[in-house]
């Protein structure tokens, strides 16, 4: 577990901190995630995808749950993702980080405006719609387009 923590602790903590903007709460989220992984290692099934990517999804979701003061919306067992990104290797991870930042910065501003609050604040599409004044359908489409744009750019 110490090795897994050394490898992924930083990225898990950083995501939680970005969402919660509070060091203590971000550490709580990080500690709970690694403790759960230790006590219930079957929650992550190897072969489904990379452990790093899975931990990132869990970290973001747990942080959002805490940020929105709601109980955990899903069990880690329910998170099944398909990702071939190798986050285990630090140098590969750093390259990918830079690539993702560039891709997100290059998304059309209106897509960024819909994706960012959904991802980092856990806002629902209707909340984003109210916040931006955009129609609900437009917000939905922008989020989908942002994710598809990200997928295509990563595959390129």
């Amino acid at each position: 577990m110490a090795d897994v923590f050394d490898r992924y602790g930083g990225v898990v903590y950083s995501v939680a901190l970005r969402v919660l903007k509070d060091k203590e709460q971000a550490e709580d989220v990080m500690q709970d995630i690694f403790f759960q992984l230790w006590s219930k290692p079957d929650a992550f099934v190897q072969g489904r995808g990379s452990l790093g990517a899975w931990l990132l999804v869990i970290a973001r979701n747990r942080a959002i749950d805490r940020f929105r003061r709601r109980r955990a919306t899903e069990s880690p067992d329910d998170v099944v993702l398909l990702s071939h990104t190798n986050l285990a290797d630090e140098s590969e991870r750093n390259i990918l980080m830079e690539k993702v930042r560039v891709i997100l910065e290059n998304l059309p501003p209106e897509q960024q405006k819909s994706l960012q609050p959904a991802y980092f604040e856990g806002l629902s599409h209707s909340e984003i719609s109210m916040q931006t004044g955009e129609p609900l359908g437009t917000v939905k489409t922008r989020i989908r387009l942002a994710l598809i744009g990200l997928r295509k750019a990563l595959a390129a």
């Binding site: 930083g10 903590y13 950083s14 006590s39 990132l56 993702l81």
Partner: protein, 132 residues
């Protein structure tokens, strides 16, 4: 949409981000439980959302966080070990208790029966002596 048709990609993307309302999420979940194709697409979308987390500024974990995790794990492992030991001990005591109680009761009855038998024969002897 939910029963027979696949979930629109917009809704699936929002579901991946947990950005649907509770009722909408429940409806999507119902469909996902029965549809491998939509589950596959959701897994791909979740793979995409995972990397968004990499775009954030990276921070080192707080000082001592690693040790705090290892201490918590060690404490939990110790508590589990003690629980297992206590359970095992409980079983050791439980097993004979459940077996020896009926035997002990039978033995007490046997002793009482023997004592009554002896007393009976003594009284009979006394009666015979008195009548002769």
């Amino acid at each position: 949409m939910i029963e027979n048709e696949h979930i629109p990609q917009e809704d699936l993307a929002l579901y991946a981000l947990q950005a649907l309302s509770e009722e909408e999420s429940e409806a999507v979940q119902l469909h996902l439980d029965q549809c491998a194709s939509c589950r596959g697409e959701l897994a791909r979308l979740l793979g995409n959302t995972a990397v968004i987390g990499l775009s954030v500024q990276q921070h080192p974990v707080p000082l001592g966080a690693r040790q705090r995790l290892l201490n918590r794990i060690a404490a939990d492992a110790m508590a589990t070990k003690q629980r297992v030991k206590q359970d095992a001990r409980g079983q050791v005591f439980d097993f004979p208790r459940s077996t020896w109680i009926p035997w002990a009761t039978a033995a007490v009855f046997a002793i009482v029966a023997i004592a009554l038998g002896v007393e009976n024969s003594l009284l009979n002897k006394e009666l015979r002596d008195e009548s002769s």
